[in-house]
Symmetry: C2
Subunit: 514 residues, 2 copies
Amino acid sequence: METAQVWIGGTWRAAETTGEFQAENPSTGDKLPRKFPVSAWKDCDAALTAAVEASHELERVSPENIARFLESYAGEIEKAADALARAAHEETGLAIKPRLRDVELPRTTDQLRQAAQAARDGSWRRVTIDKERNLRSCLGPVGPVVVFGPNNFPFAYNAVSGGDFAGAIAAGNPVIAKAHPLHPYTSLLMAGCAFEAMKASALPKATVQMIYHVDPETGLRLVSDARAGATAFTGSRAAGLTLKRAADAAGKPVYLEMSSLNPVVFLPEGLRQNAQKWALELADSCTAGSGQFCTRPNLVFLFAGDAAETFLHEVAAAFQGREPHALLAASVQERLGESIDALRSAGAEVATGATALPGPGYRYANTLLRVPGEIFLSKPEEFMREAFGNEVLAVTVTTERQLLDALGHLEGNLTASVYSAAPGSSASWGADEALYEKVAPALRRKAGRFLNDKMPTGVAVSPAMNHGGPYPATGHPGFTAVGFPAAITRFTALRCYDHVREDRLPEWLREDRV
Amino acid sequence: METAQVWIGGTWRAAETTGEFQAENPSTGDKLPRKFPVSAWKDCDAALTAAVEASHELERVSPENIARFLESYAGEIEKAADALARAAHEETGLAIKPRLRDVELPRTTDQLRQAAQAARDGSWRRVTIDKERNLRSCLGPVGPVVVFGPNNFPFAYNAVSGGDFAGAIAAGNPVIAKAHPLHPYTSLLMAGCAFEAMKASALPKATVQMIYHVDPETGLRLVSDARAGATAFTGSRAAGLTLKRAADAAGKPVYLEMSSLNPVVFLPEGLRQNAQKWALELADSCTAGSGQFCTRPNLVFLFAGDAAETFLHEVAAAFQGREPHALLAASVQERLGESIDALRSAGAEVATGATALPGPGYRYANTLLRVPGEIFLSKPEEFMREAFGNEVLAVTVTTERQLLDALGHLEGNLTASVYSAAPGSSASWGADEALYEKVAPALRRKAGRFLNDKMPTGVAVSPAMNHGGPYPATGHPGFTAVGFPAAITRFTALRCYDHVREDRLPEWLREDRV
């Protein structure tokens, strides 16, 4: 079988390679047959040059034509839905139905269509006009955007089809997609849909380009090249921080979604009333998709006592009663095991799980760990370790002070949740309310999205969503990776027009808007 | 005379010092009598701890009370206007009238009042409500903001009274002001006004704090401390990049205004018609305030020929006919001389000036340098050097290709301007128009503010202003340091509320806005 081609400068062609690779089926552990190239710098260089040209041409393309491309792309994805779902299942182990075919794929096409709508209505531009001073400003494209996709959402976060892609294109930027090397064939099929949509579009031919894999140094060179406008990355903290250093040093905006513990606090009176119900909610949130969501709870806090024991017993029972799905890759299984071992070494006890499951494929037992608040507080850094997969660590505190001290140690997160008793649900619901007043402020600043009585998994594509948060959850606390038009603004620069003649202004600045 | 006190934790107290310093009168070269402390880390540490506490308390302060403080502060500044103008004149050499007393001081109070208005109306929050999903988002405070003020605007950019200060406070953040060590007494008087306004306000006592000077390592430690929320800096590229490295490594947002060449292109037909008029505009722009503006043109481009010679002759004549004012400091004079020497070494010819003037005080002759396009293109990096002061370098190109190649080398700038013939002003005005179509796109992406037929100095405090631009003019192309509400958003984090109970939401998210 021939090595797959890269999509550079408007055409599919053989890559300039430093090597090649094959993906694996994580449900079976078998190597998949297709060969994909590891691109050398020459491919990146060619893509950057073509992207700069496309970037200039895109300035003259109407928003309507950008919108039509995104919509037509969504249509092509729908036509190829079954093949895409099969490929993604084969490469990631995620279920074809409902997950890939009926949830993630519609979400992906919805994102493309929402981005198209924002491109068309210009809501992302933040047009501001000062007639008196003849001063006008709006956001405009930032230049070629390099997108690094993660493995846990092979469609919705794919570098060539996900939210970063849609946002960058909507603002009039070309995208250089660096596909995730664990699902290259899915990315190839997806890019094929984009290629079809491009053919019928009015966009410059290098508006979309894709490579599969690069050496780490080549990746750093790519994001810090003078021709790059900005970078979007979703993945591990280690890889994200390395890219951040390179992009920061070059003065290039970089948007990273890196890691998050997504703390959940269960207040005592509510827990007394709802131990079973909440336990099931937590178990659902931690086992869906084998827990491989950026917003899965890693760390939950509750007060030691009977209700906590009931709750933990129920979570453990639910964990034991569910057959774990395959993890995304051998490396995910390995790192999950390492993290769980590290948490155990620090002093966490195993309530259930904590063992890799026998093959074929890469699975790990649903794992509930627990640790008393005083031990957590003795070395919080060791317990605040993300374990990517179907795991959760419960911290049982004995005093309010312990809880608040523990929360004080948290770093930036994508989400933070508080569960508490419903108003009037018991004589002592007010006790939760009083505690909430202390817990909520401690959590609010440490998370992009703050929830009440709800698990953080499930990220609606809404204008009011924030899928972002303070460092190290992301690289900047002011931006969201999900939700239009806000997610688009990551890939923009502020442009002011001072005393510019009317006929030379972009169309959207000509009419009075203020 | 006693060493001045720092303002930390709500009170004036003796600094924990590593040394002390005195400012100088740059008009005379005389040392000024007052002694000011160089703060040790202990002062920064105390300020950070107090700021974190203030930051939490500010979450419960109404926007109205924040607005009132800013307005009351503006009032105090007006009461102290004469003393402030005298002090600033003594420390910076800038003219009392009109500059300090009648231009910069009213601009400063106007900024505080505009920020107050934005705090009150909440326009900076970008409230977004998705009722259907019970999902709400808005911008909120980012935490303690460290502000480093520059020397060229002792009021309007002062760390304790300028635009960064006003923006940070308006969003509900405490400010740790690091005054510029070349105008410490002005900063002390200004902080005195803030102190008066604070006394009558409902704000936490450590909402405003001020120190005068720190060692470089202490400054880096300050911006990268876990307790800091964000940093704003206006000053040299070297200092800015050092702070950026420290803040980036700590994952802290940092907003920098560092350096800009502010290119101006004069198109040939317009120049033929307007050589004298445009020459005077350029001379005015380059000599006002001894050229010590971030938006002063450093680099102008024009086509070689008779019109260019007339233009350059007029600029030189105007430069020679104006008595240079004092520069801000001996160091400014020294660096200006170094930059001009470097430009000459690279091959620029002196049309006029290029010499430091004899004392007392620090002055430099108004300087016009020129260089042919082909020499510029032979080593563009050497000619793209900011010379902070009353200087400008004219590049005379012979072909359109030369011009576009030269513009292609430009880095990010705060501004870029194109002058061209007025429509119908001559039979060949269309030639400028055709050239504009090529020049404008080449400049648009390299500048935050793009102008027609206008000098870039003069930065209106308008919602439509962008005083920002691509790196290395600033650290992020999406933000402006001037203009409300946009400038406020630098000091914010995006906060989403998911399924949060109605009575627990901030007031501004309770009503329906979408």
